[in-house]
């Protein structure tokens, strides 16, 4: 919780005034958006104040009761009476001894002196109370009481001295005896009055101090109540200030904050919409968001929002769309949307909308630039490859052919990079190839694009064809995965590419015998494969994954990395049935006819792989003995390969 120091109070109140003025504009909407006022702070504050007041009240009640008891007992105490009795006893004892009777005036003298001495020395005395019990008299600290007590002691000393004199001289000198007796009586009387005064004084002091105590406690109670109130006000003000700051942030942010009611109408719109879309926030409230969205984006936005409303509370979704400016132009925006339908304070979807028109334009122009440069390089590399083709055709000398092969390999890898750049530029490429290509050729082309191609072994692929427009992309996608496999495994091991039909397409497996990946790395890699990002700097560092992700999305291909049971990593590539065809007009090896729509469900490896995965469990052992798991398909291929002869 924030607390404003006193120096800031002025500023805070100024902010508050400003906020109060602002309330005339946005304030009308605020009740619809209580999220902006910090209610929780206020509620907590109320609890603190109530607790404080209860505490103070309890202390007051307890203390008042205690004071009442003390006061009652204080009144009962009558020191004076006690002293008088003691003094009279002493006088009587003295006179009795003088008259020849048996008594102990010393003892009674001590009894007179003792309580006063104790009180003056700072001790406490237990005095008899009216009801027979005793009450403790606290040590005397008040100077007025002390003075009375000291006077009292002097008189007592004098009394005892007179008594001692009397005891000494006895009745021998009648005059002196008479004088001493008289003095004794006078002193007794004086003592009585002084003791009365002292007792009265003590009582008065006690009562006064009790009164003071009550006043102090009352004052304390009041003070604490006031403090609690002041703190409450301060916190309230801090809360208001916070709300004002937040509101000002919302008002001045370049992002739009929109709250959508579950029916799709705008329940709250931050005023920054004036800057972004040239519209007044108040005009938009109550109108459907769909009115602003570009007709082409309508479907996507509807889909995202519907999905979000049905998702768990607090779920978020992102979408990009175009919104119409008041002047008719379109602004490209990105929105982060949070489902707060179940939140009673919002009861809607909160959209954080950012205007990315300039960014989109910039990205577009960078993409165009990238595309143009890559296209030029592509043309040059293609020509270079044609030239190399011609040279290779007539070359018989093994050494020169070796050199040509090296050049060929470099140029092929260059072409792969260039074509990847074209993919990443985001510009849709002209479809160059229309007719279906044998899947095996695509895989071989992919292998040719990899640096360590000689380590790659292609094992029994089915006799299928791939749609021509996807052939290059699939080849590059496979090349990235094979490259990854060769890079992260020992140069002495092989990387195997194999395939098998599944219910909704064909799965290619790229298997390496490397050290594998940790679970975390694999999860990260799979995440990146599933969500290809827009072109940026980080992309150039991890081009491979982005390329794979982009290419996969473009053709509805699913790619997943898995741990290999004997170590290493298996990359699974699920080619959708829509891309596949059967070679030579024969039915596809896959049990599902080509053309069946690719199911958008996540790749359920456990199920879809069952048919092809099980027999492959023994593959490494079997490969050398009889590497023909798909003999039927291979024989077909052989027969077909022999066609040109006939």
């Amino acid at each position: 919780m924030r607390r404003s120091p006193p120096a800031e109070v002025g500023a805070a109140s100024a902010t508050q005034r400003k906020a109060a003025r602002g309330r005339s504009g946005i304030g009308r909407l605020l009740p619809r958006l209580p999220i902006l006022g910090d209610l929780r702070l206020g509620r907590r504050l109320a609890w603190v104040i109530v607790l404080l007041i209860v505490l103070v009240a309890a202390i007051l009640v307890y203390n008042t009761r205690a004071i009442g008891q003390q006061r009652g007992s204080a009144l009962v105490v009558n020191l004076a009476a006690r002293q008088r009795a003691l003094v009279e006893r002493y006088t009587k004892d003295v006179l009795l001894v003088v008259d020849g009777f048996k008594a102990d005036p010393r003892d009674s003298g001590e009894a007179v002196r003792q309580p006063v001495d104790v009180l003056l020395d700072g001790g406490s005395v237990r005095a008899p109370k009216g009801d027979g019990s005793r009450v403790e008299i606290q040590p005397v600290r008040d100077w007025r009481v002390r003075r009375k007590l000291e006077q009292d002691r002097r008189l007592i000393d004098e009394l005892i001295a007179t008594g001692d004199g009397l005891l000494e001289s006895g009745r021998a000198d009648p005059e002196r005896y008479a004088a001493d007796v008289t003095k004794l009586r006078v002193l007794t009387a004086q003592l009585s009055s002084v003791a009365n005064d002292a007792a009265q004084e003590i009582t008065q002091q006690t009562e006064a101090s009790l009164d003071r105590l009550v006043r102090i406690e009352l004052g304390l109670g009041l003070l604490s109540a006031l403090a609690a109130l002041a703190m409450g006000l301060l916190l309230r003000r801090a809360g208001a200030e916070q709300a004002a700051q937040f509101r000002s942030l919302v008002n001045n942010s370049s992002d739009l904050i929109t709250v959508l009611a579950p029916d799709g109408t705008i329940a709250y719109q931050s005023p920054s919409v004036q800057r972004v879309l040239g519209r007044r926030a108040a005009d938009l409230v109550g109108t459907p968001l769909a009115d602003l969205v570009h007709p082409d984006d309508q479907h996507d936005v509807d889909g995202s929002l519907t999905e979000l409303v049905e998702a768990a509370p607090g779920a978020t979704a992102n979408f990009a769309c175009r919104l119409q400016h008041n002047e008719g132009s379109w602004r490209q925006v990105e929105s982060t949307c949070t489902n707060l339908v179940d939140d009673p304070r919002v009861h809607g979807l909160v959209l954080n909308i950012r205007d990315v028109t300039e960014q989109a334009a910039l990205r577009q122009s960078i993409g165009d630039l990238l595309h143009n440069l890559a296209r030029r390089s592509q043309g040059l590399v293609d020509r270079q490859l044609e030239l190399i083709d011609d040279l290779e055709k007539h070359e018989v000398d093994p050494d020169r052919l070796q050199g040509l092969f090296r050049m060929d390999h470099l140029a092929t890898r260059m072409r792969r990079n260039v074509e990847n750049l074209i993919v990443l530029s985001g510009v849709d490429q002209r479809r160059r190839w229309s007719e279906a290509v044998p899947l095996r050729d695509v895989v071989e082309a992919a292998v040719a694009e990899v640096e360590e191609y000689s380590r790659v072994q292609i094992a029994g692929l089915h006799d299928l064809t791939l749609a021509g427009q996807a052939a290059s992309d699939v080849a590059h996608l496979l090349a990235e995965l094979v490259e990854n496999a060769t890079t992260f495994s020992s140069p002495t091991t092989r990387v195997e590419v194999s395939g098998g039909p599944t219910g909704n397409g064909y799965v290619l497996e790229i298997e390496d015998h490397g050290i594998g990946m940790s679970d975390a790395e694999m999860a990260e890699a799979n995440r990146r494969l599933a969500e290809p990002l827009a072109a940026d700097v980080s992309m150039s560092r991890m081009m491979g994954f982005h390329v794979v992700g982009r290419l996969a999305v473009r053709h509805g291909i699913r790619v997943q990395l898995r741990h290999c049971w004997f170590g290493g990593v298996t990359a699974l590539v699920l080619l959708p049935a829509a891309l596949l065809g059967s070679a030579g007009g024969r039915p596809a090896t896959a049990p599902v006819p080509a053309g069946v729509a690719f199911s958008p469900e996540p790749l359920l490896v456990a199920n879809t792989m069952k048919s092809s995965w099980q027999p492959r469990a023994h593959l490494p052992l079997r490969r050398h003995a009889a590497p023909a798991p798909n003999r039927g398909g291979d024989t077909d291929a052989a027969a077909e390969a022999g066609d040109p002869v006939e």
């Binding site: 000398d397 390999h409 064809t465 052989a638």
Partner: protein, 129 residues
Amino acid sequence: MSGSGADEGGRTWSRHYRRPYTVTGGRTRPAHDDLELEALVQTVTGIDEQLAGLGREQRSIAGLCREVVSIAEISARLDLLLGVTRVIVGDMALQGVVVLYRPQATVADADLPPVELLERVLHGLRNIS
């Protein structure tokens, strides 16, 4: 080669994207030194059982060489590079899939007819046609 998909420029996707160096794993030197282009190749009869374990080019060559064919002819008919064909055929011969009939090069150089004689024969042949 079983490429398909004719398109612009008459080149197929496969010819464009498949590279010859992958066929031999980059090797250019045949197992037999200086395997002659005119050497004849014939598939061993009854070898069909083993064909399944071979690569695509090897199977094509085995299919083609049921009759005796020269290496140069294999290269031309299967659209394979000469250098690559030589390496593959050499390997297949080592594996016992094909038999090679190499020209008799064991004749001593001194026994060969002089170059002038051969040139005269060549002229004579040209004059005939």
